[in-house]
């Protein structure tokens, strides 16, 4: 008998307890009040800022110059961008600037030390976001691989303000995650941190020290 058969056999032989109906999780989430996009954006911003992320409100036309400006201020030299993404193209078409763009085109295994040691920052898009916890949702793929949001010390994220859900449950049901999960889905709620030394909070434990969100509003820029 295999371990599998033994374990399942013991579980199946155990006395049945009272039957338990499938818990109605959706009903609980349905009780949260419905908010408009602007309110969700405000809540998202407040929550992720409380977790030490920077949020800059901008729009589809202005974000490239804003990103370049922030990068210069922070003294960042090499920016990792995705391969063939719209945002990489937009940055590439910007007039003269200091930032050197590095494109993630090769398997990580072939340029790992370069990736770990010589990249100052990365730019990825967020698929969507969550207001209740101030979280970004990323589905890394071939054009924006998973290590972009993890290895470089500074992570810029482009987020369309129209894609902010109320909570994680709304995100996964509205976007129908359960029908087709990607190999890796990420929910990121701030820069990397630890409180393992005497409960003292420190940022940049193993992932990015800084998380910078470029929150793009549609139409007129708010505020």
């Amino acid at each position: 008998m295999s371990a599998r058969e033994n374990i399942l056999g013991r579980l199946r032989r155990a006395p049945a307890g009272a039957p338990v109906p499938l818990p109605d999780v959706a009903a609980w989430f349905a009780t949260t009040p419905v908010e408009d996009i602007a309110t969700r954006a405000t809540r998202f911003k407040a929550n992720i800022e409380a977790a030490h992320a920077e949020v800059h409100e901008t729009n589809a036309a202005d974000w490239p110059s804003l990103l370049l400006e922030i990068a210069v201020q922070k003294g960042l030299g090499r920016l990792l961008v995705g391969h063939g993404t719209a945002q990489a193209e937009v940055l590439r078409s910007q007039p003269q600037h200091q930032l050197k763009l590095v494109s993630y085109e090769q398997p990580a295994a072939t340029w790992r030390s370069e990736l770990f040691e010589n990249i100052d920052c990365a730019l990825t898009a967020a698929r969507s976001a969550i207001a209740s916890t101030g979280s970004l949702i990323l589905w890394p793929d071939a054009s924006e691989p998973r290590l972009m949001s993890l290895v470089p010390p500074v992570h810029f994220v482009l987020l369309d303000a129209a894609n902010i859900h109320a909570d994680l449950h709304a995100a996964m049901t509205n976007e129908r995650w359960a029908e087709a999960m990607p190999t890796n889905a990420l929910v990121i709620s701030g820069p990397s941190k630890t409180a393992d030394i005497q409960q003292t909070l420190a940022y940049g434990a193993h992932g990015p020290r800084e998380l910078i969100v470029l929150l793009c509003h549609r139409g007129a820029k708010s505020s």
């Binding site: 999780v25 989430f29 998973r146 420190a202």
Partner: protein, 477 residues
Amino acid sequence: MSQNQTVHFHPAEGFAERSRAAVNDAHLRRSFRGAMDFLQAKRLSQFPDADELSALRDLGKAIRLHALANLPDLLEQLEAKLQANGIQVHWAETPDQANAIVLDIAHRHDAKNMVKGKSMVSEEIGLNHAMEVAGIEALETDMGEYIVQLAGEAPSHIIMPAIHKTRQQIAELFAAKVPGVAYTDNVDELIRIGRDVLRKKFAAAEIGLSGVNFAVAETGTLYLVENEGNGRMCTSVPKVHIAVTGIEKVVAKLEHVALLNILLPRSATGQAVETYQNFISGPRKPDELDGPDEVHLILLDNGRTQAYADVQLRATLQCIRCGACMNHCPVYARIGGHAYGTTYPGPIGAIISPHLLGLEATYALATASSLCGACVEVCPVRIPITDILIRLRNEAQAASAGKLRGGGRARKPLQSSIWLVWSWIYGQPWLYRIVSWLMSRGRALAPSNQGAWTRSRTPLNPAPQRLRDLLRRPASG
């Protein structure tokens, strides 16, 4: 598996001595008291609405009960979904089997270096030791776990492994053990040192090992949460990712994770959400440029089916490992995690360890409770911890071995005869009247040395007047 490489604990022996030593260690007392106060306050601040918390706990419990009620079916569904997603599934009944599976995978890849994300199950199976014996470096990468491993110790808390250490102790440890590092007790500096050392290790390791917070049967997804990013490193940089988890960690639906993760971080550390929620549903696709080529899941029993076989004790498996019960336990706060001598300390440790290690080795843990119920009040999935503690005490004292491994092993003939006589006296009113009268007259004869009781308490003396005498006295005024 001929070799037995697991580290065996005998916490029942020495538990009292270790507790006594811990209680007398002022340093340790301060570390734990400070940390517990901090964590209790933070948790409370995350649940301002008592009604909402209560509703959330009902739902959390319902989700876990549903998963357990359907456990064998859900495990089979999980396995089928994971396999369809390209994740390899292994089953292990014992720690040795689990370690052998890891070693087998490691050997197939000629691996010499393993980086580890936080995993209490890997502690439970003594994985680091098994790897070391086989010549594989298994390096802890969670900052707290890294510190504890560097010191040659075991974690003292399931969420904050290095909670027993002060900043200065960690500073001294780094200066002594990390090559080329000068003494600094600046926390940011210390974390930067750890980050630099471990970054090189992530890039060089062939295998990344992790635990699992929840495994979703519906989608074949491994769900992992963390703050540091080391878990993501371990699951996405090396070419092989091995996850180990107990068979009870499965949930039916993806949406169940959304609810449970409202309870988990708030109960655990009093934060609204962890920095990283990592949903892994397969190895990298051919066109993807990073991520592991292989993902494995090891499903471990190690006594969990024993808990499952008993309808009352099954509730133990509802646990989501948040650590709130230990953070609120007056015993844990005073003796700390190491005194328990088990992988899982505190109230959850006292109720799960008997299934993992046998009641003969662990019955003392169930006695380390005042049954105040603080753990029951905070448990996000409403495990009736105190009821289970009482049940385990009875099982340990039972006249026959019963269904639990090591049952009846705490029974002492003299002690049980004394209790027998006691219950007989208390069961006969006439006898009780005589005995209590004799006791109140003979109170001068009570010994001043009453063994363990008087080691830290004043002696017990029968009252000069029995309660019944006091009641019979006419009320004055």
